[in-house]
C-alpha cells in the first residue's frame, strides 16, 4: 500500500507544474463541493429565489454540453459520412466528450437539491419535461460515450474480446450518439421555451431548440480544432491542421445556416420589443458578430482555413460566441430590468473552475496513460474476424468453469 502510494506520489511529482496547478484547482473544487453539502445551497452559492439557476446550470450544464459536442459531430462526419481522413481526431473527441458529460453529471449532482434522488428521472417519467428528455439523453449518451471510450482502455490492457464487441458496436453507437445528441442539444434550447415572458426577445423564439442544435454542431467542430491545436502545441502531437481544414470548410456553411435561422426567427417569430434593453442588445451583438459573423467570414477565405493560427483564432471566437450565447439565454437574457444582478459566489466559481481544470487534467492524464493519439485507424481492421464465434464460445466456457 505504502509502496503504491509512494509510486503515485513520485509519479505526480514528475508532472509538469501546470498539471499540478490543475490538480490544485480540482482539489479546491472538491473542497468547495463538500462545503456546499455541509452548509447548503443558500449560504454557499449566490443563487436565490430570483436566481434559482446560477453559474452551475449556465456553465456546467447549458454551456458544457455543446462544448462536449465534438464527439458526436465528428463521429457522424467520420463514420456516417465516411470522411475517414479525420479518423485520428475521433478518439480525442470522444475522450473530451466523455469527460465533458461526466463533469456535466457531477455539476448537476452538486446543483440538485436532492442528488440522492437523481435516479427518480428513470422511474417517474414526465415526457412533457425537456429536463426529463435531457436527463434521459445525457444518461444514455454518457453511457454511449463510455462504451466508445472503452476502446482505448481495452487497447491499453489488450482486452481483445471486448474490443471486438465494441468495434462491432461502433456504428450503432455513433448513430445513437448523433441522434441522442441532436435531441438533447436541441432540448437544452427547449428548456427556455417555457420562459416566454422572462427570456428577452433577442433570444426567445420557437426555433431556439434548432439554434441550440446547430450551434452545438459548429461548436463541436471548433472544439476539435481547439483541442487538436492545443495538443499539437503542448503535448507534442503531430500537426493536424491539414485535417482541420476539412472542418473549417464545413464551418462557414453551418455558421451561415445558423445565422439565417437566427435572424429569420428573430424577424418573423418573436413578439414584442427587441431593442429596449441596451445592455442586452450589446451582449447579443457581441455574440453574433464575434461568435458567428466574424469566423464565418474568416473561414470563407481559403488561406485562413489552412492556417493553423487562423483556425485556432476562428474556433476560439466561435467557442466564445457559444459560451456567451448560452449565458445570454440562460442568465443575462432572463434578468428582468428591475432585478439585482447575480454574480457567482466563491464556492460556485471554485467548483466551475475545478470542473474546467478537471477536464483538462483528466484529458492530459488519459492521453498520457492511454492510447488516444497512438491510434492509427488506417492500420486497423474493422471487420469481424471469421473465428469470432469460436473465441466467443471459448470465453464463455472459461467463464462457466471459473
Amino acid at each position: 500500500m505504502t509502496a503504491a502510494a509512494r509510486i503515485i506520489i513520485n509519479e505526480v511529482k514528475s508532472y509538469h507544474n501546470f498539471l499540478k496547478f490543475m490538480i490544485g484547482l480540482v482539489v479546491l473544487a472538491v473542497l468547495a463541493s463538500a462545503v456546499r453539502f455541509i452548509f447548503g445551497l443558500g449560504s454557499t452559492t449566490n443563487m436565490n429565489d430570483t436566481y434559482p439557476w446560477g453559474l452551475w446550470i449556465s456553465f456546467d450544464v447549458v454551456t458544457a454540453v455543446p462544448l462536449a459536442a465534438g464527439a458526436f459531430t465528428l463521429g457522424a462526419i467520420v463514420h456516417c459520412f465516411h470522411i475517414k481522413k479525420l479518423e485520428p481526431l475521433v478518439r480525442p473527441a470522444i475522450v473530451t466528450g466523455f469527460l465533458g458529460y461526466s463533469l456535466v453529471c457531477i455539476g448537476l449532482l452538486l446543483d440538485l437539491g436532492q442528488p440522492h434522488k437523481g435516479w427518480h428521472t428513470l422511474v417517474y417519467w414526465n415526457v412533457h419535461s425537456p429536463m426529463f428528455e435531457v436527463s434521459m439523453c445525457v444518461m444514455a449518451y454518457t453511457t454511449v460515450l463510455f462504451l466508445e471510450f472503452l476502446s482505448p482502455v481495452c487497447e491499453k490492457f489488450g482486452y481483445h474480446m471486448p474490443l471486438r464487441v465494441l468495434r462491432w458496436l461502433e456504428m450503432p453507437l455513433v448513430i445513437a450518439a448523433a441522434s441522442i445528441s441532436t435531441l438533447h442539444q436541441s432540448s437544452l434550447g427547449t428548456f427556455f421555451l417555457i420562459a416566454v415572458d422572462k427570456l428577452h426577445n433577442l433570444w426567445y423564439n420557437p426555433l431556439l431548440p434548432l439554434q441550440f442544435w446547430m450551434s452545438a454542431i459548429f461548436t463541436g467542430m471548433s472544439i476539435i480544432i481547439l483541442e487538436a491545436t492545443m495538443v499539437h502545441r503542448y503535448l507534442g502531437q503531430p500537426d493536424e491542421s491539414e485535417l482541420l481544414e476539412v472542418l473549417t470548410k464545413i464551418l462557414p456553411w453551418v455558421l451561415g445556416a445558423y445565422l439565417t435561422v437566427k435572424i429569420a426567427a428573430m424577424a418573423f417569430l418573436s413578439h414584442g420589443p427587441l431593442f429596449d434593453r441596451p445592455v442586452l442588445l450589446a451582449l447579443f451583438l457581441v455574440e453574433v458578430i464575434v461568435g458567428v459573423i466574424m469566423p464565418m467570414v474568416m473561414f470563407m477565405k481559403e488561406s485562413n482555413r489552412e492556417d493553423n493560427r487562423m483556425q485556432l483564432r476562428g474556433a476560439s471566437m466561435i467557442i466564445f460566441g457559444v459560451v456567451l450565447n448560452r449565458f445570454n439565454v440562460s442568465m443575462f437574457g432572463m434578468i428582468q430590468a428591475d432585478q439585482v444582478i447575480y454574480y457567482p459566489s466563491i464556492v460556485e466559481s471554485l467548483v466551475t473552475i475545478g470542473i474546467i481544470a478537471g477536464h483538462i487534467l483528466f484529458f492530459v492524464l488519459l492521453a498520457k496513460y492511454f492510447p488516444i493519439f497512438e491510434h492509427h485507424p488506417e492500420t486497423v481492421d474493422y471487420s469481424l474476424p471469421d473465428h469470432f464465434h469460436e473465441v466467443d464460445g471459448h470465453e464463455q466456457a472459461k467463464g462457466v468453469e471459473a
Binding site: C80, L112, G113, P115, T121, H128, M131, H160, P209, M334
Partner: protein, 287 residues
C-alpha cells in the same frame, strides 16, 4: 398538454377582488398558521406601505403587496394577494422531470416532495415566480402554496379564503368568472375592465379584479397561451427527430459502408490471413 379539450369550469377557483381587499393580511397569517410556516425576520418595512416580508419565500406562500402612490394628486393605497395561481395548465408541472407537480382535478396544483430531485426548473418555468426553495438547507425542497389541497379535499375552503373578511371568494371556476363579470357589469366605474387570470397563462385557478390599471399594481403581463404548449410544440417532435436522425444516419452509413465493405472484401480475398487469432490465444493462456 391536451389543452383546449380540458374543461376547467368545475375546478375550485379563487376570485380575489382587490377593490375589496383591506390589506388586513389575515390571509397571510392564516396561511402561515395552517401550513405551520416560520416567521421571517424582518426589519421595518420592505416595500411600499406596510408591506412585509420583502418577498415570498420558503416561509411565505402568500403575501399582500402594498402599493402606495399618488395619481393626479389623488392617493392610491392598494393591496393585493400574491399566491400560486394554480394554473389550468401549469408550467411548473410540465417542466418537472419527475412529475413532482400535479394539477389535481379539484384545482390546486400540488407538490410531491418525495419525488422532487431539486432541479428548480419549476422555479424557472413558473411565469409568476411562485415556487420557492429551501435555500437554508443542504438538501432543499421546493415550497409553494398548496391551494390547501388537504382542506379542499375535505370540503373546506383554503385557510386564506376562510379568513378573508372581504376580498376572496372561492368556488367553481365558471361561477367565479360569472361573479367577476357580474361585478364588472354592475360597477363599471369601480373596476378596471379586466379579469386577470381568466386568460393569462392559459387561464388560472386564481383570478383577480382590480380598481387600478393592472400595470400600476405590478401585475405581470403574461401570455394567454398555456405555457406548456410552448415547450410541447418542440418536445412533441422528439420521437420523430430521433427516428429520422437515427434512420437517416443509418441509411447514409449503411450506404457508405457498403461501398467500403465491398472494397475491403475484395482486399480480404486477396490476402487470406487472420492476423489476430494466434495472438489472442496466447494471451488467454497466459492469464
Amino acid at each position: 398538454m391536451s389543452g383546449n379539450s380540458k374543461d376547467f369550469s368545475k375546478q375550485r377557483t379563487f376570485l380575489i377582488d382587490t377593490t375589496k381587499c383591506t390589506g388586513c393580511r389575515g390571509c397571510q397569517v392564516a396561511c402561515k398558521q395552517w401550513n405551520q410556516l416560520g416567521a421571517e425576520n424582518t426589519k421595518f418595512f420592505s416595500g411600499e406601505g406596510y408591506q412585509n416580508p420583502p418577498a415570498m419565500s420558503e416561509y411565505t406562500f402568500t403575501r399582500i403587496k402594498f402599493k402606495d402612490y399618488q395619481k393626479n394628486g389623488q392617493n392610491e393605497f392598494a393591496f393585493y394577494k400574491e399566491m400560486c395561481m394554480h394554473c389550468n395548465e401549469p408550467a411548473c408541472a410540465s417542466v418537472c422531470p419527475v412529475g413532482a407537480f400535479v394539477k389535481t382535478p379539484e384545482g390546486p396544483v400540488v407538490y410531491n416532495a418525495g419525488r422532487c430531485i431539486g432541479c428548480r426548473f419549476c422555479m424557472i418555468a413558473c411565469p409568476f415566480g411562485i415556487p420557492k426553495y429551501e435555500w437554508s438547507k443542504a438538501f432543499p425542497l421546493v415550497k409553494k402554496c398548496t391551494g390547501c389541497y388537504g382542506r379542499v379535499k375535505e370540503g373546506l375552503q383554503p385557510a386564506c379564503a376562510t379568513t378573508c373578511p372581504t376580498a376572496i371568494s372561492y368556488g367553481s371556476r365558471s361561477d367565479m368568472i360569472a361573479e367577476a363579470e357580474r361585478r364588472l357589469k354592475n360597477r363599471p366605474k369601480h373596476y378596471y375592465p379586466a379579469i386577470y387570470g381568466k386568460e393569462e397563462a392559459g387561464g388560472t385557478s386564481v383570478i383577480y379584479l382590480t380598481h387600478q390599471p393592472l400595470d400600476e399594481l405590478g401585475f405581470k403581463p403574461v401570455t394567454t397561451r398555456p405555457l406548456p404548449s410552448y415547450t410541447w410544440q418542440a418536445l412533441r417532435l422528439v420521437p420523430g427527430i430521433f427516428l429520422t436522425m437515427g434512420g437517416g444516419l443509418s441509411l447514409i452509413s449503411w450506404f457508405n459502408h457498403r461501398k467500403e465493405r465491398i472494397k475491403q472484401e475484395e482486399a480480404f480475398k486477396n490476402s487470406k490471413v487472420a492476423p489476430e487469432t494466434a495472438e489472442t490465444k496466447t494471451r488467454e493462456e497466459n492469464q
